[in-house]
Protein backbone atom coordinates (compact mmCIF):
# COMPACT_ATOMS: atom_id res chain seq x y z
CA UNK A 1 0.00 0.00 0.00
CA UNK A 2 1.33 3.41 -1.00
CA UNK A 3 0.48 6.56 0.89
CA UNK A 4 0.21 9.81 -1.09
CA UNK A 5 -0.36 13.20 0.52
CA UNK A 6 -1.30 16.37 -1.38
CA UNK A 7 0.13 19.54 0.17
CA UNK A 8 0.58 23.14 -0.90
CA UNK A 9 2.02 25.49 1.71
CA UNK A 10 -0.17 28.30 0.51
CA UNK A 11 -3.88 27.63 0.78
CA UNK A 12 -6.38 27.57 -2.06
CA UNK A 13 -4.01 26.36 -4.77
CA UNK A 14 -6.16 23.36 -5.75
CA UNK A 15 -5.18 20.49 -3.41
CA UNK A 16 -8.72 19.18 -3.02
CA UNK A 17 -9.59 19.42 -6.72
CA UNK A 18 -6.44 17.41 -7.51
CA UNK A 19 -6.99 14.72 -4.86
CA UNK A 20 -10.63 14.41 -5.96
CA UNK A 21 -9.35 13.69 -9.47
CA UNK A 22 -6.80 11.19 -8.09
CA UNK A 23 -9.55 9.44 -6.14
CA UNK A 24 -11.44 9.04 -9.42
CA UNK A 25 -8.35 7.90 -11.36
CA UNK A 26 -6.70 5.55 -8.84
CA UNK A 27 -7.77 1.94 -8.59
CA UNK A 28 -8.44 0.28 -5.27
CA UNK A 29 -7.92 3.26 -2.97
CA UNK A 30 -8.92 4.69 0.39
CA UNK A 31 -9.27 8.47 0.84
CA UNK A 32 -8.49 10.57 3.90
CA UNK A 33 -9.35 14.25 4.28
CA UNK A 34 -6.62 15.48 6.63
CA UNK A 35 -7.63 19.14 6.37
CA UNK A 36 -9.86 18.91 9.42
CA UNK A 37 -10.29 22.71 9.73
CA UNK A 38 -11.69 22.97 6.23
CA UNK A 39 -12.75 19.50 5.15
CA UNK A 40 -13.87 19.97 1.58
CA UNK A 41 -13.18 16.62 -0.07
CA UNK A 42 -16.63 15.39 1.05
CA UNK A 43 -18.20 18.14 -1.06
CA UNK A 44 -17.06 16.48 -4.28
CA UNK A 45 -17.15 12.80 -3.25
CA UNK A 46 -20.73 12.78 -1.87
CA UNK A 47 -20.08 10.39 1.02
CA UNK A 48 -22.67 8.26 2.76
CA UNK A 49 -21.62 8.30 6.42
CA UNK A 50 -21.45 4.78 7.86
CA UNK A 51 -19.93 5.55 11.24
CA UNK A 52 -19.62 8.71 13.31
CA UNK A 53 -17.34 9.04 16.36
CA UNK A 54 -16.75 11.87 18.79
CA UNK A 55 -13.21 13.18 19.03
CA UNK A 56 -12.09 14.23 22.48
CA UNK A 57 -9.35 16.83 22.22
CA UNK A 58 -7.15 18.28 24.91
CA UNK A 59 -8.22 19.36 28.36
CA UNK A 60 -9.02 22.80 29.68
CA UNK A 61 -8.45 23.94 33.27
CA UNK A 62 -11.44 24.94 35.38
CA UNK A 63 -11.11 26.74 38.72
CA UNK A 64 -13.68 26.09 41.45
CA UNK A 65 -14.35 29.56 42.91
CA UNK A 66 -15.63 27.95 46.13
CA UNK A 67 -12.24 26.34 46.79
CA UNK A 68 -9.94 29.03 45.35
CA UNK A 69 -8.11 30.99 48.06
CA UNK A 70 -6.81 33.59 45.61
CA UNK A 71 -3.13 32.73 46.21
CA UNK A 72 -2.18 33.59 42.60
CA UNK A 73 0.11 30.56 42.14
CA UNK A 74 -1.91 29.31 39.14
CA UNK A 75 -1.58 32.61 37.30
CA UNK A 76 2.15 32.61 37.99
CA UNK A 77 2.50 29.04 36.70
CA UNK A 78 0.57 29.69 33.46
CA UNK A 79 2.78 30.57 30.50
CA UNK A 80 -0.15 30.95 28.10
CA UNK A 81 -1.75 34.02 29.72
CA UNK A 82 -4.87 31.92 30.20
CA UNK A 83 -5.51 32.71 33.87
CA UNK A 84 -6.58 36.12 35.11
CA UNK A 85 -7.98 37.68 38.24
CA UNK A 86 -11.55 38.82 37.77
CA UNK A 87 -14.04 39.93 40.38
CA UNK A 88 -12.24 38.47 43.38
CA UNK A 89 -11.59 35.07 41.85
CA UNK A 90 -9.36 33.51 39.21
CA UNK A 91 -10.79 32.47 35.86
CA UNK A 92 -9.44 30.46 32.92
CA UNK A 93 -9.75 31.65 29.34
CA UNK A 94 -10.52 28.31 27.63
CA UNK A 95 -9.34 29.64 24.26
CA UNK A 96 -5.89 30.52 25.57
CA UNK A 97 -5.54 27.41 27.78
CA UNK A 98 -2.96 24.93 26.46
CA UNK A 99 -4.18 22.10 28.69
CA UNK A 100 -0.63 21.75 30.06
CA UNK A 101 -1.88 21.24 33.63
CA UNK A 102 0.84 23.48 35.13
CA UNK A 103 -1.83 25.34 37.15
CA UNK A 104 -3.39 22.07 38.32
CA UNK A 105 -0.06 21.03 39.84
CA UNK A 106 0.66 24.51 41.19
CA UNK A 107 -2.65 24.87 43.07
CA UNK A 108 -2.09 24.09 46.78
CA UNK A 109 -5.79 23.50 47.57
CA UNK A 110 -6.85 21.34 44.61
CA UNK A 111 -9.29 23.94 43.32
CA UNK A 112 -8.45 23.18 39.68
CA UNK A 113 -9.90 20.41 37.54
CA UNK A 114 -9.07 19.49 33.99
CA UNK A 115 -12.15 19.14 31.77
CA UNK A 116 -11.82 17.09 28.58
CA UNK A 117 -13.02 18.94 25.49
CA UNK A 118 -15.33 17.53 22.85
CA UNK A 119 -13.23 18.87 19.98
CA UNK A 120 -15.01 17.36 16.97
CA UNK A 121 -16.10 14.25 15.14
CA UNK A 122 -14.57 11.83 12.69
CA UNK A 123 -16.42 9.78 10.10
CA UNK A 124 -16.07 6.58 8.13
CA UNK A 125 -17.95 6.99 4.87
CA UNK A 126 -18.50 5.29 1.58
CA UNK A 127 -18.26 7.10 -1.75
CA UNK A 128 -18.47 5.95 -5.35
CA UNK A 129 -14.69 6.29 -5.41
CA UNK A 130 -14.16 4.12 -2.34
CA UNK A 131 -14.00 4.55 1.45
CA UNK A 132 -13.46 8.07 2.79
CA UNK A 133 -12.25 8.94 6.29
CA UNK A 134 -12.90 12.53 7.24
CA UNK A 135 -13.42 14.71 10.28
CA UNK A 136 -14.88 17.91 11.52
CA UNK A 137 -12.96 19.91 14.08
CA UNK A 138 -15.22 22.15 16.13
CA UNK A 139 -14.29 25.74 15.41
CA UNK A 140 -11.51 27.17 17.54
CA UNK A 141 -10.33 23.83 18.91
CA UNK A 142 -6.77 22.78 19.52
CA UNK A 143 -5.18 19.46 18.69
CA UNK A 144 -6.00 19.43 15.01
CA UNK A 145 -2.71 17.51 14.58
CA UNK A 146 -4.03 14.73 16.81
CA UNK A 147 -7.30 14.54 14.88
CA UNK A 148 -5.36 14.42 11.60
CA UNK A 149 -3.27 11.55 12.94
CA UNK A 150 -6.42 9.75 14.07
CA UNK A 151 -8.34 9.91 10.74
CA UNK A 152 -5.21 9.05 8.81
CA UNK A 153 -4.54 6.05 11.02
CA UNK A 154 -8.14 4.84 10.56
CA UNK A 155 -7.82 5.14 6.77
CA UNK A 156 -4.43 3.46 6.81
CA UNK A 157 -5.66 0.47 8.82
CA UNK A 158 -8.57 0.03 6.40
CA UNK A 159 -6.25 0.19 3.40
CA UNK A 160 -3.85 -2.35 4.94
CA UNK A 161 -6.67 -4.63 6.08
CA UNK A 162 -8.28 -4.72 2.64
CA UNK A 163 -4.94 -4.80 0.82
CA UNK A 164 -5.76 -1.62 -1.03
CA UNK A 165 -3.20 -0.17 -3.38
CA UNK A 166 -3.33 3.53 -2.43
CA UNK A 167 -4.07 5.75 0.54
CA UNK A 168 -4.83 9.24 -0.78
CA UNK A 169 -4.51 12.00 1.82
CA UNK A 170 -5.80 15.55 1.26
CA UNK A 171 -3.50 17.71 3.37
CA UNK A 172 -4.00 21.07 5.09
CA UNK A 173 -2.26 24.30 4.04
CA UNK A 174 0.75 25.67 5.91
CA UNK A 175 3.83 23.88 7.28
CA UNK A 176 3.00 23.42 10.98
CA UNK A 177 1.55 20.73 13.21
CA UNK A 178 -1.39 19.44 11.09
CA UNK A 179 0.80 19.38 7.95
CA UNK A 180 3.50 17.39 9.73
CA UNK A 181 0.81 14.96 10.97
CA UNK A 182 -0.66 14.62 7.46
CA UNK A 183 2.71 14.07 5.78
CA UNK A 184 4.30 11.67 8.26
CA UNK A 185 4.70 8.19 6.87
CA UNK A 186 3.81 9.24 3.30
CA UNK A 187 5.60 7.56 0.39
CA UNK A 188 5.11 10.64 -1.77
CA UNK A 189 4.00 14.25 -1.30
CA UNK A 190 2.39 15.94 -4.30
CA UNK A 191 2.76 19.70 -3.87
CA UNK A 192 0.35 21.96 -5.71
CA UNK A 193 1.70 25.42 -6.44
CA UNK A 194 0.43 28.44 -8.34
CA UNK A 195 2.84 30.58 -10.41
CA UNK A 196 2.72 33.62 -8.12
CA UNK A 197 5.29 35.31 -5.87
CA UNK A 198 3.46 33.95 -2.83
CA UNK A 199 3.22 30.49 -4.40
CA UNK A 200 6.98 30.35 -5.08
CA UNK A 201 7.80 31.55 -1.56
CA UNK A 202 5.48 29.03 0.09
CA UNK A 203 6.64 26.16 -2.16
CA UNK A 204 10.18 26.58 -0.86
CA UNK A 205 8.98 26.31 2.75
CA UNK A 206 6.77 23.28 2.18
CA UNK A 207 9.52 21.50 0.19
CA UNK A 208 11.84 22.20 3.13
CA UNK A 209 9.28 20.72 5.48
CA UNK A 210 8.78 17.45 3.57
CA UNK A 211 12.56 17.13 3.10
CA UNK A 212 12.97 17.60 6.87
CA UNK A 213 10.67 14.62 7.41
CA UNK A 214 12.27 12.66 4.55
CA UNK A 215 9.22 12.42 2.34
CA UNK A 216 9.84 12.39 -1.44
CA UNK A 217 8.03 15.12 -3.40
CA UNK A 218 6.57 15.87 -6.82
CA UNK A 219 5.36 19.33 -7.85
CA UNK A 220 2.24 20.16 -9.87
CA UNK A 221 1.89 23.75 -11.16
CA UNK A 222 -1.76 24.80 -11.15
CA UNK A 223 -3.11 27.70 -13.26
CA UNK A 224 0.31 27.62 -14.95
CA UNK A 225 -0.76 29.98 -17.75
CA UNK A 226 -1.70 32.83 -15.35
CA UNK A 227 2.01 33.70 -15.24
CA UNK A 228 4.23 31.66 -17.61
CA UNK A 229 7.36 33.45 -16.38
CA UNK A 230 6.71 32.47 -12.75
CA UNK A 231 5.88 28.93 -13.92
CA UNK A 232 9.32 28.80 -15.52
CA UNK A 233 10.87 30.11 -12.31
CA UNK A 234 9.20 27.22 -10.45
CA UNK A 235 10.44 24.69 -13.03
CA UNK A 236 14.00 26.08 -12.74
CA UNK A 237 13.85 26.03 -8.94
CA UNK A 238 12.59 22.44 -8.96
CA UNK A 239 15.27 21.35 -11.43
CA UNK A 240 18.01 22.89 -9.28
CA UNK A 241 16.67 21.05 -6.25
CA UNK A 242 16.12 17.70 -7.98
CA UNK A 243 12.33 17.81 -7.69
CA UNK A 244 10.24 16.71 -10.66
CA UNK A 245 7.43 18.90 -12.01
CA UNK A 246 4.84 16.22 -12.78
CA UNK A 247 2.32 18.36 -14.64
CA UNK A 248 1.17 21.88 -15.46
CA UNK A 249 -2.55 22.52 -15.20
CA UNK A 250 -4.03 25.47 -17.10
CA UNK A 251 -6.46 27.96 -15.56
CA UNK A 252 -10.00 26.97 -16.51
CA UNK A 253 -13.40 27.86 -14.96
CA UNK A 254 -14.33 24.20 -15.49
CA UNK A 255 -12.63 23.46 -12.13
CA UNK A 256 -15.09 25.72 -10.29
CA UNK A 257 -17.98 24.30 -12.34
CA UNK A 258 -17.02 20.77 -11.26
CA UNK A 259 -16.91 21.93 -7.64
CA UNK A 260 -20.40 23.45 -7.96
CA UNK A 261 -21.59 20.20 -9.59
CA UNK A 262 -20.05 18.28 -6.67
CA UNK A 263 -17.86 16.08 -8.88
CA UNK A 264 -14.16 15.43 -9.49
CA UNK A 265 -13.22 17.49 -12.55
CA UNK A 266 -12.01 14.35 -14.36
CA UNK A 267 -15.58 13.01 -14.13
CA UNK A 268 -17.31 16.33 -14.83
CA UNK A 269 -15.22 17.28 -17.87
CA UNK A 270 -13.03 14.29 -18.78
CA UNK A 271 -11.84 15.77 -22.09
CA UNK A 272 -10.90 19.22 -20.73
CA UNK A 273 -7.23 20.27 -20.77
CA UNK A 274 -7.39 20.45 -16.96
CA UNK A 275 -8.48 16.82 -16.72
CA UNK A 276 -5.81 15.71 -19.18
CA UNK A 277 -3.15 17.48 -17.10
CA UNK A 278 -4.44 15.84 -13.92
CA UNK A 279 -4.38 12.43 -15.60
CA UNK A 280 -0.76 13.11 -16.63
CA UNK A 281 0.04 14.07 -13.02
CA UNK A 282 -1.50 10.83 -11.73
CA UNK A 283 0.55 8.78 -14.23
CA UNK A 284 3.73 10.42 -12.92
CA UNK A 285 2.67 9.62 -9.35
CA UNK A 286 2.17 5.95 -10.25
CA UNK A 287 5.48 5.81 -12.14
CA UNK A 288 7.38 7.51 -9.30
CA UNK A 289 6.00 5.08 -6.73
CA UNK A 290 6.83 2.13 -9.02
CA UNK A 291 10.39 3.52 -9.34
CA UNK A 292 10.67 3.72 -5.54
CA UNK A 293 9.52 0.10 -5.34
CA UNK A 294 12.19 -1.04 -7.81
CA UNK A 295 14.93 0.85 -5.96
CA UNK A 296 13.77 -0.69 -2.66
CA UNK A 297 13.90 -4.16 -4.24
CA UNK A 298 17.43 -3.54 -5.59
CA UNK A 299 18.73 -2.30 -2.25
CA UNK A 300 17.43 -5.48 -0.65
Amino acid sequence: MKQIVVLSGKGGTGKTSLIAAFSHLAANRVMVDADVDASNLQLVLNPRVEEEQRFMGGQVAEIDPGLCTGCNLCEEACRFDAISHQGGTYVVDPVACDGCKACFYACPVEAIDMAPQHAGWWYRSLTEQGPLYHAHLRPGQENSGRLVTLVKQQGRLRALDEEREYLLVDGPPGIGCPVISAASGADLAVIVVEPTVAGVHDLQRVLGTVAHFQVAALVVINKADINPRKAREIRDFCEQHGVEVAAEIPYDPVVTQAMVAGLPVTLHAPESPVSRAMIAAWKRVVATLAGQGERDAESR
Binding site: S8, G9, K10, G11, G12, T13, T16, V36, D37, A38, S39, N40, L43, G58, Q59, A77, R79, F80, V95, A96, D98, C100, K101, A102, Y105, A106, P139, G140, Q141, E142, S144, G145, P172, P173, G174, I175, G176, V179, I180, P195, T196, V197, A198, G199, H201, D202, R205, G208, T209, H212, F213, I226, N227, K230, Y251, P253, T256, M259, V260, G262
Partner: protein, 284 residues
Protein backbone atom coordinates in the same frame (compact mmCIF):
# COMPACT_ATOMS: atom_id res chain seq x y z
CA UNK B 1 -9.51 49.87 15.54
CA UNK B 2 -8.19 46.32 15.09
CA UNK B 3 -9.56 44.38 12.13
CA UNK B 4 -8.71 40.68 11.77
CA UNK B 5 -8.81 39.42 8.19
CA UNK B 6 -9.53 35.68 8.22
CA UNK B 7 -11.08 33.11 5.90
CA UNK B 8 -11.40 29.45 6.82
CA UNK B 9 -10.42 28.31 3.33
CA UNK B 10 -6.93 29.24 2.17
CA UNK B 11 -6.18 31.27 -0.93
CA UNK B 12 -9.40 33.28 -0.93
CA UNK B 13 -7.65 36.67 -0.83
CA UNK B 14 -6.96 37.55 2.83
CA UNK B 15 -3.60 39.07 2.00
CA UNK B 16 -5.04 40.91 -1.00
CA UNK B 17 -7.68 42.54 1.20
CA UNK B 18 -5.20 43.34 3.99
CA UNK B 19 -2.59 45.01 1.84
CA UNK B 20 -5.01 46.93 -0.35
CA UNK B 21 -6.94 48.21 2.65
CA UNK B 22 -3.60 49.31 4.10
CA UNK B 23 -2.52 51.00 0.86
CA UNK B 24 -5.85 52.84 0.59
CA UNK B 25 -5.64 54.07 4.19
CA UNK B 26 -2.00 55.13 3.80
CA UNK B 27 -2.81 56.99 0.57
CA UNK B 28 -5.54 58.85 2.48
CA UNK B 29 -2.90 59.80 5.11
CA UNK B 30 -4.51 57.59 7.76
CA UNK B 31 -2.18 55.69 10.10
CA UNK B 32 -2.23 51.93 9.59
CA UNK B 33 -0.35 48.79 10.63
CA UNK B 34 -0.31 45.44 8.82
CA UNK B 35 0.51 42.44 11.02
CA UNK B 36 1.05 39.20 9.08
CA UNK B 37 0.01 36.48 11.53
CA UNK B 38 0.09 33.68 8.93
CA UNK B 39 3.42 32.61 10.39
CA UNK B 40 3.49 29.29 8.51
CA UNK B 41 3.32 31.05 5.15
CA UNK B 42 3.77 34.82 5.58
CA UNK B 43 3.18 36.57 2.25
CA UNK B 44 2.21 40.20 2.90
CA UNK B 45 5.85 41.35 2.73
CA UNK B 46 6.08 40.05 -0.85
CA UNK B 47 3.61 42.79 -1.84
CA UNK B 48 4.55 45.61 0.56
CA UNK B 49 8.36 45.20 0.51
CA UNK B 50 8.80 46.63 4.01
CA UNK B 51 12.13 47.71 5.41
CA UNK B 52 12.51 45.44 8.45
CA UNK B 53 14.41 47.21 11.19
CA UNK B 54 13.91 44.99 14.19
CA UNK B 55 13.98 41.26 14.64
CA UNK B 56 13.45 39.03 17.68
CA UNK B 57 13.70 35.28 18.05
CA UNK B 58 10.78 33.27 19.40
CA UNK B 59 11.98 30.64 21.85
CA UNK B 60 10.31 27.94 23.86
CA UNK B 61 11.86 27.04 27.19
CA UNK B 62 12.52 23.33 27.16
CA UNK B 63 13.81 21.13 29.97
CA UNK B 64 17.38 20.01 30.44
CA UNK B 65 17.92 17.25 32.99
CA UNK B 66 20.96 17.14 35.25
CA UNK B 67 21.72 13.40 35.34
CA UNK B 68 23.69 13.75 38.61
CA UNK B 69 20.75 15.27 40.48
CA UNK B 70 18.05 13.08 38.89
CA UNK B 71 16.94 9.95 40.74
CA UNK B 72 14.60 8.78 37.95
CA UNK B 73 11.50 9.28 40.12
CA UNK B 74 9.37 9.92 37.02
CA UNK B 75 7.41 12.94 38.28
CA UNK B 76 8.44 15.02 35.26
CA UNK B 77 7.02 12.42 32.86
CA UNK B 78 3.85 12.18 34.94
CA UNK B 79 3.10 15.90 34.84
CA UNK B 80 3.95 16.36 31.15
CA UNK B 81 0.79 16.40 29.01
CA UNK B 82 2.74 16.30 25.71
CA UNK B 83 4.80 13.13 26.26
CA UNK B 84 7.86 15.30 25.74
CA UNK B 85 9.85 13.95 28.69
CA UNK B 86 10.12 10.23 29.27
CA UNK B 87 11.72 8.47 32.23
CA UNK B 88 13.50 5.24 31.25
CA UNK B 89 15.29 2.71 33.45
CA UNK B 90 18.61 4.58 33.38
CA UNK B 91 17.89 8.07 32.13
CA UNK B 92 15.36 10.72 31.23
CA UNK B 93 14.82 11.51 27.55
CA UNK B 94 13.54 14.88 26.32
CA UNK B 95 11.75 15.20 22.96
CA UNK B 96 12.14 18.93 22.21
CA UNK B 97 9.81 18.91 19.18
CA UNK B 98 6.91 17.71 21.35
CA UNK B 99 7.50 20.20 24.21
CA UNK B 100 5.06 23.12 24.57
CA UNK B 101 7.37 24.86 27.03
CA UNK B 102 4.84 24.97 29.87
CA UNK B 103 7.47 24.57 32.60
CA UNK B 104 5.53 21.95 34.57
CA UNK B 105 8.34 19.39 34.68
CA UNK B 106 10.82 21.97 35.95
CA UNK B 107 8.43 23.32 38.59
CA UNK B 108 7.47 19.87 39.86
CA UNK B 109 10.84 18.07 39.92
CA UNK B 110 11.35 17.23 43.62
CA UNK B 111 15.15 17.30 43.24
CA UNK B 112 15.61 20.53 41.33
CA UNK B 113 17.30 18.45 38.62
CA UNK B 114 15.67 20.26 35.68
CA UNK B 115 16.71 23.60 34.27
CA UNK B 116 15.36 25.26 31.15
CA UNK B 117 17.10 26.15 27.91
CA UNK B 118 15.67 28.21 25.07
CA UNK B 119 14.86 26.49 21.79
CA UNK B 120 14.31 28.73 18.76
CA UNK B 121 11.13 27.94 16.82
CA UNK B 122 10.71 31.11 14.78
CA UNK B 123 11.13 34.84 14.68
CA UNK B 124 9.20 38.10 14.51
CA UNK B 125 10.20 41.20 12.55
CA UNK B 126 8.90 44.73 12.23
CA UNK B 127 9.53 47.87 10.26
CA UNK B 128 7.83 50.11 7.72
CA UNK B 129 6.61 50.02 4.16
CA UNK B 130 6.42 53.75 3.42
CA UNK B 131 3.84 55.12 5.84
CA UNK B 132 2.52 51.64 6.66
CA UNK B 133 3.71 50.10 9.93
CA UNK B 134 4.48 46.45 9.35
CA UNK B 135 5.13 43.36 11.48
CA UNK B 136 5.34 39.67 10.64
CA UNK B 137 6.16 36.34 12.21
CA UNK B 138 7.85 33.32 10.67
CA UNK B 139 7.73 29.75 11.96
CA UNK B 140 10.93 27.82 11.26
CA UNK B 141 10.65 25.02 8.70
CA UNK B 142 10.13 21.67 10.43
CA UNK B 143 8.54 23.23 13.54
CA UNK B 144 4.98 22.30 14.55
CA UNK B 145 3.82 25.05 16.91
CA UNK B 146 2.63 28.23 15.20
CA UNK B 147 0.72 29.62 18.19
CA UNK B 148 3.73 30.80 20.25
CA UNK B 149 4.99 32.81 17.25
CA UNK B 150 1.56 34.43 16.79
CA UNK B 151 1.38 35.11 20.53
CA UNK B 152 4.76 36.87 20.45
CA UNK B 153 3.72 38.88 17.40
CA UNK B 154 0.58 40.13 19.16
CA UNK B 155 2.81 42.05 21.57
CA UNK B 156 3.64 44.32 18.63
CA UNK B 157 0.05 45.32 17.79
CA UNK B 158 -0.16 49.13 17.90
CA UNK B 159 -2.77 51.17 19.72
CA UNK B 160 -2.34 54.38 17.73
CA UNK B 161 -3.62 53.35 14.33
CA UNK B 162 -5.88 51.03 12.38
CA UNK B 163 -4.40 47.55 12.77
CA UNK B 164 -4.99 44.96 10.03
CA UNK B 165 -4.29 41.43 11.26
CA UNK B 166 -3.69 39.02 8.36
CA UNK B 167 -4.75 35.71 9.96
CA UNK B 168 -3.76 32.18 8.91
CA UNK B 169 -6.35 30.02 7.10
CA UNK B 170 -8.40 27.46 8.98
CA UNK B 171 -10.50 27.69 12.12
CA UNK B 172 -8.28 26.10 14.78
CA UNK B 173 -5.75 27.37 17.30
CA UNK B 174 -3.39 29.53 15.16
CA UNK B 175 -6.35 31.33 13.54
CA UNK B 176 -8.01 31.87 16.93
CA UNK B 177 -4.79 33.20 18.44
CA UNK B 178 -4.50 35.68 15.55
CA UNK B 179 -8.05 37.07 15.68
CA UNK B 180 -8.84 37.13 19.40
CA UNK B 181 -8.79 40.60 20.86
CA UNK B 182 -9.56 42.26 17.52
CA UNK B 183 -12.60 44.55 17.31
CA UNK B 184 -13.93 43.10 14.07
CA UNK B 185 -13.47 39.98 11.94
CA UNK B 186 -13.53 40.40 8.19
CA UNK B 187 -14.00 37.02 6.51
CA UNK B 188 -12.77 36.74 2.94
CA UNK B 189 -14.38 33.98 0.90
CA UNK B 190 -15.13 32.90 -2.63
CA UNK B 191 -18.61 32.02 -3.90
CA UNK B 192 -18.07 28.27 -4.23
CA UNK B 193 -19.17 25.24 -2.18
CA UNK B 194 -15.63 25.03 -0.68
CA UNK B 195 -15.65 28.74 0.14
CA UNK B 196 -19.08 28.52 1.80
CA UNK B 197 -18.26 25.40 3.83
CA UNK B 198 -15.11 26.96 5.29
CA UNK B 199 -16.73 30.39 5.76
CA UNK B 200 -19.28 28.74 8.08
CA UNK B 201 -16.49 27.33 10.28
CA UNK B 202 -14.64 30.66 10.47
CA UNK B 203 -17.88 32.56 11.19
CA UNK B 204 -18.67 30.14 14.01
CA UNK B 205 -15.29 30.90 15.61
CA UNK B 206 -15.94 34.66 15.41
CA UNK B 207 -19.39 34.20 16.94
CA UNK B 208 -18.13 31.95 19.73
CA UNK B 209 -15.59 34.65 20.58
CA UNK B 210 -18.43 37.20 20.52
CA UNK B 211 -16.82 39.23 17.74
CA UNK B 212 -18.74 41.26 15.14
CA UNK B 213 -18.12 40.07 11.59
CA UNK B 214 -18.56 40.92 7.93
CA UNK B 215 -17.76 39.20 4.64
CA UNK B 216 -15.77 40.06 1.53
CA UNK B 217 -16.60 37.93 -1.51
CA UNK B 218 -13.59 37.66 -3.78
CA UNK B 219 -13.89 36.49 -7.40
CA UNK B 220 -17.56 37.33 -6.80
CA UNK B 221 -18.76 36.34 -10.27
CA UNK B 222 -17.48 32.74 -10.34
CA UNK B 223 -19.21 29.78 -8.70
CA UNK B 224 -22.75 29.89 -7.33
CA UNK B 225 -25.10 31.93 -5.12
CA UNK B 226 -24.65 29.83 -1.97
CA UNK B 227 -22.44 32.30 -0.09
CA UNK B 228 -24.77 35.26 -0.76
CA UNK B 229 -27.82 33.28 0.31
CA UNK B 230 -26.17 32.02 3.48
CA UNK B 231 -24.94 35.50 4.48
CA UNK B 232 -28.45 36.91 3.93
CA UNK B 233 -30.00 34.14 6.04
CA UNK B 234 -27.45 34.59 8.83
CA UNK B 235 -27.71 38.39 8.63
CA UNK B 236 -23.97 38.74 8.07
CA UNK B 237 -23.23 41.86 6.03
CA UNK B 238 -21.40 41.43 2.71
CA UNK B 239 -19.20 44.52 2.76
CA UNK B 240 -17.32 44.14 -0.51
CA UNK B 241 -17.50 42.09 -3.70
CA UNK B 242 -14.35 41.89 -5.84
CA UNK B 243 -15.01 40.58 -9.35
CA UNK B 244 -12.77 37.98 -10.98
CA UNK B 245 -10.46 39.72 -13.40
CA UNK B 246 -7.65 37.87 -15.09
CA UNK B 247 -5.60 41.10 -15.04
CA UNK B 248 -5.96 41.25 -11.23
CA UNK B 249 -4.83 37.62 -11.02
CA UNK B 250 -1.85 38.30 -13.29
CA UNK B 251 -0.80 41.41 -11.32
CA UNK B 252 -1.18 39.45 -8.07
CA UNK B 253 1.05 36.69 -9.47
CA UNK B 254 3.85 39.25 -9.96
CA UNK B 255 3.45 40.62 -6.43
CA UNK B 256 1.75 43.80 -7.68
CA UNK B 257 -1.06 44.90 -5.32
CA UNK B 258 -4.50 45.44 -6.81
CA UNK B 259 -4.41 49.16 -6.02
CA UNK B 260 -1.08 49.61 -7.78
CA UNK B 261 -2.58 48.00 -10.89
CA UNK B 262 -6.01 49.65 -10.49
CA UNK B 263 -5.60 52.83 -8.32
CA UNK B 264 -9.14 53.95 -9.18
CA UNK B 265 -10.40 51.22 -6.80
CA UNK B 266 -8.97 52.96 -3.68
CA UNK B 267 -12.36 54.48 -2.66
CA UNK B 268 -13.85 50.97 -2.57
CA UNK B 269 -11.42 50.00 0.21
CA UNK B 270 -11.93 53.28 2.10
CA UNK B 271 -15.68 52.56 1.97
CA UNK B 272 -14.97 49.10 3.40
CA UNK B 273 -13.19 50.61 6.39
CA UNK B 274 -15.98 53.17 6.86
CA UNK B 275 -18.60 50.40 6.75
CA UNK B 276 -16.73 48.48 9.47
CA UNK B 277 -16.44 51.67 11.53
CA UNK B 278 -20.19 52.25 11.19
CA UNK B 279 -21.01 48.69 12.33
CA UNK B 280 -18.79 49.10 15.40
CA UNK B 281 -20.30 52.49 16.20
CA UNK B 282 -23.84 51.14 15.90
CA UNK B 283 -22.93 48.38 18.35
CA UNK B 284 -21.37 50.76 20.84
Amino acid sequence: MKIAIASGKGGTGKTTVSINLALALAAAKLPVQVVDCDVEEPNAALFLHPELKERAGVDLLIPQVDAEACDLCGVCSEVCQSNAIVTLAKRVLVFPELCHGCGSCTANCPHGAISEVPRRIGEVERGNAGAIHFAQGRLNVGEALAVPVVRRLREWLRDDCTVLIDAPPGASCPMVEAIRGADFVLLVTEPTPFGLHDLKGAAEVARELGMPLGVVINRADIGDAGVEQWCAREEIPVLLRIPFDRRIAEAYSEGIPLLTARPELAPVFLDLQRAIGAILEAQA
